[in-house]
């Protein structure tokens, strides 16, 4: 009887110590998990901040670049070639000289340099072109039409590398004219995809872009999405966006997309039309980075 009690007591003690050991391990495990999850959260926060900073920097570079921004008129200085410099009738006449077909000669008084408005014609006339100043924040409609597509033709969007873009990234640029909006607050504008060099093997940004173009739609739903997501993402159903990323970006690549208040509110710009009209607008830059 006594040995039975001693045996039971021993078992209880053993069980207690095992439980204590397990409890200690659980506590250490919990602390470890909390520590690692905090580090992970810090990492995600740092990555999101980095991505957001990249998007802001990119928007700043875009609105300051001669690729999009309006350049002041080119001025042409120096002394133009004399008429006898020209050997063809067309070049002779275009320089305001007279062409004698019999002698194949050019005579008269040529235009002075300040008559030339374009850099190429200025150089052709022997003058020196002085480039206009880049007007930061004033976007030239002619340049926008070359790089982006108007909002109405969403399925024609292709990815372009204009020399401004992070490597292994996808940039969605949306420019809206705030003075050309309909009653649903949907404004005219431009949309385009930009990309930097792709160095990751197996990463096809082009397919992702094609998928986005196929699923973009300016329907009634987009009006409601506009209120929720802002103009940059209003063209897509969130499910389509998710599917495009899942189906076209291999899971081996981690990706992070900027979507904070700063990028969703956009940067203020002015849009300059060829007839001289200046409209207020906004540029939204949404950046997806892959690694």
């Amino acid at each position: 009887m006594i040995s039975e009690q001693a045996k039971n007591k021993g078992l209880v003690h053993t069980m207690m110590f095992i439980l204590k050991g397990l409890f200690a391990i659980a506590i250490i495990g919990l602390l470890y998990w909390l520590f690692i999850s905090t580090i992970l959260q810090m990492h995600v926060a740092i990555n999101e901040n980095t991505n957001e900073r990249h998007a802001i920097n990119l928007a700043n570079v875009l609105i300051s670049s001669e690729k999009l921004a309006y350049e002041g008129e080119v001025t042409c200085i120096g002394t133009s070639y004399p008429c006898n410099h020209y050997t063809t009738s067309s070049s002779c006449v275009s320089a305001n000289c007279g062409w004698i077909a019999q002698d194949q000669s050019c005579y008269g008084t040529p235009y002075t340099c300040d008559n030339y408005l374009y850099s190429s014609s200025c150089t052709d006339a022997g003058c020196t072109p002085v480039n206009g100043k880049v007007m930061r924040g004033i976007l030239d409609v002619g340049k926008l039409d070359e790089i982006f597509v108007r909002s109405g033709s969403l399925n024609l969007i292709s990815i372009k590398d204009i020399g401004i873009g992070y490597p292994n990234s996808f940039t969605l640029v949306r420019i809206i004219d705030l003075e050309k909006c309909n009653s649903f607050d949907i404004c005219d504008g431009w949309i385009g995809y930009l990309s930097g060099p792709i160095t990751l093997q197996g990463l096809s940004i082009a397919k992702f872009g094609e998928c986005l173009s196929e699923h973009a739609s300016a329907d009634v739903e987009s009006f409601f999405r506009l209120q929720l997501t802002g103009p940059a993402l209003a063209w897509w159903n969130p499910l389509d966006l998710k599917n495009c990323a899942q189906n076209n970006i291999p899971s081996s690549f981690s990706s992070i997309f900027s979507n904070s208040q700063i990028t969703s509110e956009g940067f203020p710009i002015v849009i300059k039309y060829p007839n001289g009209d200046m409209h207020l607008g906004r540029i939204y830059v949404l950046l997806g980075e892959f690694s």
């Binding site: 021993g10 095992i18 580090i39 990249h54 670049s65 001669e66 007007m135």
Partner: protein, 139 residues
């Protein structure tokens, strides 16, 4: 009495094992991460600053020259390629040799490589077309 000694031993062994794992595997990485993230002279920080400065120089409409010297005590190897800048600090601590960092920037810059430098210059000029230049030297 014998049973208690055994369980004590198991608990102690398990505790020591967990602590050993923590201090041998996790702690050095976390320590390196924290010191790397919060050190001004770390490769990560210098690479981030450089990539940011290169990109932001594009926001200047005419011309700009930026000088950046993170520290005069340490030097770095720097490599600019494919719109990324890789910075490797040359520290006397062995593990720091591995603490290089590669950060992306968003403008077109010619490939560049230089060793043991700590003074960096980023230059942008606009003369009809924007051109960027990067340089590094020992200060």
């Amino acid at each position: 009495m014998k049973a208690i000694t055994t369980s004590d031993a198991i608990g102690i062994v398990l505790g020591v094992f967990v602590l050993f794992l923590f201090f041998s595997q996790v702690f050095p990485k976390v320590y390196a991460l924290i010191t790397d993230n919060f050190s001004k002279a770390s490769g990560e920080n210098v690479a981030r600053q450089l990539s940011g400065l290169i990109t932001v120089s594009g926001a200047a409409t005419y011309k700009i020259k930026i000088d950046y010297t993170p520290t005069t005590e340490h030097t770095y190897n720097v490599l600019v390629k494919d719109r990324t800048v890789k910075v490797t600090p040359i520290f006397t601590v062995n593990y720091a040799e591995k603490a290089s960092s590669t950060q992306p920037f968003a403008v077109v810059l010619n490939d560049y490589e230089q060793e043991k430098v700590n003074h960096f210059t980023v230059e942008k000029k606009f003369d009809g077309v924007s051109t960027y230049d990067f340089g590094a030297s020992k200060e």
